[in-house]
């Protein structure tokens, strides 16, 4: 059965998206992306150092079959986000965009008002907008109505590796959404990602947990397995949770019956 994820008309057989920050080297990043099987990879923007423009070209380390998902990290409001989006489009020739507006440097939490404002405008400008957003079911529906390609609610703050701290809100978002739900930020272990997929998330975007692992390449592969496992479990239909024990063996008390028949012999 084809279980490909479709975002803005593009099919993805992998439901693991990779962020490219914090890797020990570009070569390790490249190997981790390959090991993960990911087909969607984020990039960021930085001001060119005009006195030393000779650093490595990130595109040399991202497999050609990956969709590039440039982000707007560093912007503080909708106006700056739109400028960053246009710069990304000019630099990379892509309309895919991870919209992230987090003016607060302490927790890097997305600014909902500015994210909504920017999404509305960027959709009109032809961008495929994948907004990083609070796990706010109302905001997620509003983004969907505006034409966002996905919603990308956080599980916990960026880079914390704390896992899913807002499960009930994510459940509501997943239940209500007519566009893919990508869990972005805070996923710290393959078990977290598997759980997100079991909840019915459509994909996970992982960066820190892979990039800072002792062996990022092996960890990328571990995440690929966990996301596949979680997805399969979701499709299979998980069993009900019960407070009382429910036997998995027949309760016929056969030892007692056997003892009785010996006594009667």
């Amino acid at each position: 059965m084809n279980d490909n994820l479709v975002i803005a008309g593009r099919e993805f057989s992998s439901r693991l998206f990779i962020g490219t920050g914090k890797f020990p080297s570009n070569e390790v990043m490249r190997q981790a992306i390959l090991a993960s099987g990911s087909q969607m990879v984020t990039t960021a923007l930085k001001r060119l150092n005009t006195e030393d423009s000779g650093s490595e070209n990130i595109l040399d380390f991202i497999p050609k079959e990956c969709v590039l998902l440039p982000n707007t990290s560093g912007v503080r409001n909708a106006e700056e986000a739109i400028f960053a989006a246009k710069m990304n489009r000019a630099a990379l020739g892509t309309e895919w965009l991870k919209l992230e507006i987090h003016p607060d440097p302490k927790y890097l939490l997305p600014d909902t008002r500015e994210t909504l404002k920017a999404t509305e405008e960027l959709v009109k400008l032809g961008f495929k907008v994948l907004p990083y957003v609070q796990a706010d079911p109302v905001a997620c529906k509003q983004l969907e109505e505006m034409g966002a390609a996905t919603v990308m609610p956080l599980a916990s703050p960026i880079g914390t590796n704390k896992g899913i701290k807002n499960e009930e809100m994510l459940r509501i978002i997943i239940e209500q959404s007519n566009i893919p739900v990508v869990i972005d930020a805070g996923i710290g272990a393959p078990s977290h990602a598997a759980y997100a997929m079991e909840l019915g998330a459509d994909a996970c975007l992982i960066n820190t947990a892979i990039a800072i692992a002792g062996d990022p390449v092996k960890m990328a592969e571990a995440f690929a397995f966990s996301i596949k496992a979680g997805r399969m479990a979701y499709l299979s239909g998980l069993g009900c949770v019960s407070n009382l024990a429910v036997a998995t063996s027949p309760l016929t008390a056969f030892l007692e019956e056997e003892q009785n028949s010996i006594d009667n012999a």
Partner: protein, 67 residues
């Protein structure tokens, strides 16, 4: 004339294009770089047609690693 490039005052010839400026900085043809004059993002195929003016505020960015 003086233009501002990523916040730094830079002396360029009076007929300097955006293309020429980027070439001087050392930007190669295949690099994932974008440039804006003020808030106008200039497509790469228009760099050569974009004449800089004294006092222009130019932003040049490149794609890099990030999540």
């Amino acid at each position: 004339m003086i233009v501002l490039v990523n916040g730094k005052n830079t002396d360029v010839p009076s007929n300097c294009t955006l293309e020429k400026l980027c070439e001087t900085i050392g930007i190669k043809a295949n690099e994932p770089v974008a440039a804006a004059v003020g808030t106008d993002v200039i497509d790469r195929n228009m760099w050569n047609a974009t004449l800089l003016k004294d006092g222009d505020n130019i932003t040049i960015i490149r794609a890099t690693c990030g999540g």
